[in-house]
């Protein structure tokens, strides 16, 4: 079985919505510890791919394996999250009426059952973890702020922080720098590289500067399947990729 020894393994995955093929025979392999950037024009199927990995969308055909043996198509979002796959949305999605600290507290790995939540008391250990993450995402001064009052970039970071709190094996990050200033973008790239030291990361991004800064292997998607794969320079010199991006 080819999926063995990989962290994430997609093979021959297809899904269509009302006749529209969003993903078409897509295959993609991610090794443990690898960071990968996925690029592609609008409608290439990037977000749908993430939906499939995280269990939000069921593929019509194809295999999706995690850690070589877990069939992700048989699990729902919550189970997949607990298996160790974290996801950041395209639009920053944090709990706006909670404080920054509570946002992280909710994300912190730990028991997820309703009864344990009802009688949960925060331990010193957890407080320490939250402090660490707050520093990592540079929000330690804003721990009592309502998340709603953060700037757009800060929300993106908070969301990344929540992923970290989840302690996943694999992070799926959808357009983390959309709407960020240049300085913030650079900071984010730094942050992601730091994270990638300990876990695998799949980044979907439009911003080529950012992808360049990440300096990782790039996969280009088009119309639901892989168009090219390799280093950024290799991919950006591919004739078909240029065609797709410039339009025809």
């Amino acid at each position: 079985m080819k999926a063995k020894d990989t962290l994430l393994y997609l093979d021959g995955v297809s899904v269509s919505f009302d006749g529209f093929r969003a993903i078409n025979n897509l295959s993609l392999v991610l090794q443990a510890g690898e960071m990968r950037a996925v690029i592609g024009p609008n409608g290439a199927g990037k977000t749908t791919m993430m939906d499939i990995i995280t269990g939000k969308t069921r593929p019509d055909t194809g295999d999706v394996y995690f850690k070589g043996e877990i069939d992700l198509t048989r699990h729902d979002e919550a189970e997949i999250a607990l298996l160790g796959i974290g996801r950041k949305f395209q639009k920053p999605t944090v709990f706006e009426s909670h404080t920054v600290e509570d946002n992280l507290m909710l994300a912190l790995a730990g028991p997820r059952s309703a009864f344990s939540a009802l009688f949960h008391r925060q331990s010193a250990d957890e407080a320490e973890r939250i402090d660490d993450i707050l520093h990592t995402i540079r929000l330690h001064t804003k721990r009592d702020w309502l998340a709603a009052n953060l700037s757009h970039g800060q929300k993106q970071w908070l969301e990344i922080g929540m992923l970290l709190a989840q302690d996943p094996k694999l992070l799926l990050v959808d357009e983390p720098v959309a709407g960020m200033t240049d300085a913030e973008t650079a900071e984010t790239a730094k942050l992601l590289r730091e994270i990638a030291k300990t876990r695998s990361v799949l980044v979907v991004e439009h911003d080529m500067h950012f992808v360049r800064e990440l300096d990782v292997k790039v996969t280009c998607l088009h119309e639901g399947s892989v168009l090219a794969e390799g280093s950024l320079d290799y991919v950006s010199n591919d004739q078909r990729v240029i065609e797709v991006y410039l339009g025809r």
Partner: protein, 392 residues
């Protein structure tokens, strides 16, 4: 020790309300029973049962707010749980009548004699015991809510779809309970109660005690709601309300959380109904009317959803308004009530309590920000409380 435990789970406002309710539970009966009617402080029995009724509505509103305000599940069928609780209590009261019914049948309630039934239907057994009825008051709505919620939340029925099927649920129950063959007294429902736990249900003292029980149960509900809301579970619920899919991608089984709070809420509604029935003296299928459930939603909205006191305030105010308007302007009171709803929506989008809440959260938030970034001006950009994402 206990007080400390209490205050870790209830905020200052909640504590004040609980204290107030407990005081009400003591003082109103005392005033009604001990003071002479001429005294200025005497609360007439009429007001005791009236306010008692308002408080049962308030309990229903608190239950509804627990799911809607804190978890974003808009139920347009909570009246069904209220009515089921009421029917469970009504069946107990019916059995208490015993041979004092007009046909003097020792077992069968009047309406069964009158429809020529020969024996008690199976589901009426056990209701001659108070403890059994009390159990049913929470179990019947609880089990229905559990079954319904288990199906709906697992299938991820959300938003208006959920709201409309809750409405369909209460409507179906309305039609079912209207049927005489169901064995619940049909359109006339259950009425003509004689006594509860051996006390004459019409006696002033019984009324006062029922009032006290209602106030205490409401206080308990406020405490339980506070406890839930202030726990991590409560934060998960608010998270579900604001960004359900995020919660799921964090690994929470959202359906189970919803199911938990939904069932708890239905049980609270059932208790409200059970307290309501002996005080108004009748339970009939019109309690299942979808309009009643919508009205309960309106109480919550008027008072302020997502707060614990708001629903109480809303339920009491709207119903007080209804009592007052229907007597003062019987011909045109619907104009007044309708206008109230429109104006509250337009000018007090977070309900009456939202006003205070807005000020306070703003203040707290400003303090927090001042503390964290000395010198930086508080930005006016965002609303302090995020607009809860609507059911959509």
């Amino acid at each position: 020790m206990i007080t400390q435990w209490f205050f870790t789970h209830v905020d200052r406002r909640g504590a004040i309300v609980i204290a107030l309710l407990v005081a009400l539970a003591c003082l109103v009966p005392l005033s009604n029973l001990l003071l002479p009617p001429t005294s200025a402080l005497h609360v007439p029995t009429y007001l005791v049962s009236l306010i008692g009724k308002y408080l049962t509505y308030a309990l229903l509103a608190v239950a509804l707010d627990l799911v809607w305000g804190f978890c974003g599940i808009l139920s347009l069928g909570h009246g069904a749980f209220f009515a089921l609780g009421g029917y469970a209590m009504g069946m107990y009261l019916m059995r208490q009548i015993g041979p004092r019914g007009v046909y003097a049948d020792p077992v069968l309630p009047d309406f069964m004699v009158f429809l020529n039934w020969k024996e008690l239907p199976w589901f009426w057994h056990g209701f001659n015991h108070f403890w059994f009825a009390a159990l049913m008051v929470v179990l019947v709505p609880g089990i229905l809510a559990f079954g319904f919620g288990w199906l709906a939340f697992r299938s991820r029925v959300t938003g208006v779809y959920l709201s409309i099927i809750t409405q369909a649920l209460t409507y179906a129950l309305l039609l079912a309970f209207f049927r005489n063959d169901m064995g619940f007294g049909g359109n006339n429902g259950l009425t003509d109660f004689k006594d509860i736990l051996g006390f004459n249900i019409q006696a002033d003292s019984t009324r006062s005690m029922l009032f006290a029980a209602t106030a205490l149960f409401l206080a308990l509900a406020v405490f339980v709601t506070s406890f839930i809301v202030r726990s991590k579970l409560g934060k998960v619920l608010v998270g579900v309300r604001d960004a359900e899919s995020r919660m799921r991608f964090l690994g929470y089984r959202v359906d189970r959380y919803k199911l938990f709070v939904w069932t708890v809420s239905a049980m609270m509604a059932g208790i409200a109904g059970a307290l309501y029935v002996p005080q108004v003296g009748i339970i009939n299928p019109s309690e299942f009317e979808p309009a009643n459930s919508i009205e309960a939603v309106i109480w919550v909205a008027v008072g302020g959803r997502g707060t614990i006191i708001g629903p109480i305030l809303g339920a009491v105010l709207v119903n007080f308004g209804k009592t007052y308007f229907t007597a003062a302007f019987p011909e045109i009171w619907l104009f007044a009530l309708g206008a109230l709803f429109i104006l509250v929506t337009l000018f007090l989008p977070k309900g009456i309590l939202g006003l205070y809440g807005t000020w306070e959260t703003k203040r707290k938030d400003r303090i927090a920000r001042k503390r964290s970034e000395p010198g930086s001006p508080a930005t006016e950009r965002a609303t302090p409380i995020a607009e809860p994402q609507a059911a959509e």
